[in-house]
Symmetry: C2
Subunit: 294 residues, 2 copies
């Protein structure tokens, strides 16, 4: 996790060419801590964070209810990233890879699982970018289980659904959770799978950034990006379980809310013009597409 | 309610001097509807809505859980307003006055109550403005019950608490809910009280707008306003019960989310300068003040 954070932030700084990540080390009073790295006002990245954390202690009450357990201890670690590019032609990307352990009061581990995924949120839709991103996801999955890509692609479409808008947050990718030892996969197998997916992230995203970052754009296209970023905020604050857990369990607020975009607009009852590029995006978000064959 | 909406939107248009409210009539498929009025890009008001609605039908499942009832019918009506001024020296204001009825399956009314309140969210704090707003609230309350102002002022500070930021949304005002017939107040008394509070709104807010709307401000002060508007979004999407109910019960999204500010910023780990006006505001938000004597 430490290495992957280094690899990803180094590459992003190289692509950006102007801004560097600012690092904050933090400790959680109840146990553990993290290394938050945030980039702002870059040539390419207007705002973004690539954060790792490893926390442990008593399972907070709100999470006890959620998991249906009492008085457990937990250990959780993960890497979370969100990148908001300046140019509306470059999609926002989110990724998270995590591991969770639960302990009973004797200190015996009673449960453990992996989770994670990555998903792409374009403002202007280039089909080939969505296909490329999904192809990299599929290649990583296929090395482990032939069914994983189809399964986790669909879970991603379900999870990143902005229910109150009846539309997806973006064009999806992968989402998996509660990945536990079973007949097909040991915990080591799951570790290798999640590692493979994490290591494929740059290959999925960077070529898209390189291809789109120097495209020209108008003030109107920038406005559209800021309006769509509002939908991103709505998803993260209303629906995203990770964000809400963090906010309700006294997590480090600034590390959690680094996911929110830098400049955002809300306009009353805004609708894109008929047959515009903006409307094409909405059509796809309302009816998620299978970008590649399963 | 219809008259109060007219009175308020007429006055706001007169104060703005440029933009007019745009009206949308809407129907709720399950019963009832509303009249949404939104103003945008005014001289004074960058964005705002003054909405009324009266809806009825089967109580949605999520609200059944909340109220601890099964298979009830309901009727709810109310006026909701939020105004986001352009000038950061003018505070944002929110108000809501509402009435709710619950029916059993025989069509007998089994419960009914009033609720509402109004609260002020400054970006730069002028003590005299907060005092004026609270004084008008108190005067309206005192005509009905001497204890109401103290009680509902405190409830307001509790309700509009942005728990994950450990700060209030603004400098408060009034908040009351589940106002039912009791030894002191009949339902008619409550109706008169809520009407009094609603009718006092313009007297509480407009003098503040008139006093501050032509003050000059810098780009830095505007930036501060946009950052603070981010906290407003966080409260409304994470904590506000009314907003979440609306979003989860298939309410009219654009009428509900008219409350979100037009231009918003999120900057990582932003802190105002020591002993600045911005820091003074934060100090007060973290420790709500009794603006006037009870």
């Amino acid at each position: 996790m430490l290495n992957l954070q280094d690899t990803i932030t180094s590459k992003l700084e190289a692509v950006d060419g102007k801004s560097k990540f600012k690092e904050d080390l933090w400790e959680r009073p109840e146990g553990g801590g993290g290394r938050t790295r945030v980039i702002e006002n870059g040539h390419v990245f207007e705002k973004g964070g690539v954060n790792i954390s490893a926390v442990h202690g008593k399972l907070p009450e709100s999470m006890q209810q959620y998991f249906g357990v009492k008085d457990a201890d937990f250990y959780a670690c993960g890497l979370s990233l969100v990148l908001h590019p300046k140019n509306p032609m470059v999609p926002t990307v989110h990724a998270n890879w995590r591991y969770f352990e639960m302990y009973d009061q004797d200190g015996t581990m009673v449960d453990s699982w992996f989770g994670g995924g990555q998903d792409l949120t374009p403002y202007y839709l280039f089909d080939e970018d969505a296909i490329h991103f999904h192809q990299i996801c599929k290649t990583a999955c296929d090395k482990h289980q032939p069914k994983f890509y189809e399964l986790y692609k669909k879970k991603c479409d379900e999870y990143f659904w902005n229910a109150h808008r009846h539309e997806a947050r973006g064009v999806g990718g992968l989402f998996f959770d509660y990945c536990k030892a079973n007949d097909d996969m040991t915990m080591d197998d799951w570790y290798n799978f999640v590692t493979e997916v994490g290591n494929s992230f740059l290959e999925g995203y960077i070529p898209i950034v390189e291809k789109r970052k120097d495209l020209s754009y108008s003030d109107e296209q920038r406005k559209w990006q800021e309006i769509r970023r509002g939908r991103y905020v709505e998803f993260n604050l209303v629906h995203d379980k990770g964000t809400l857990f963090g906010l309700k369990t006294n997590g480090r607020i600034e590390s959690i809310l680094m996911s929110l975009p830098p400049h955002v607009q809300w306009i009353y009852d805004y609708h894109p013009q008929k047959n515009s590029e903006e409307e094409k995006l909405i059509r796809v978000l309302k009816n998620p597409i299978d970008w590649i064959e399963f």
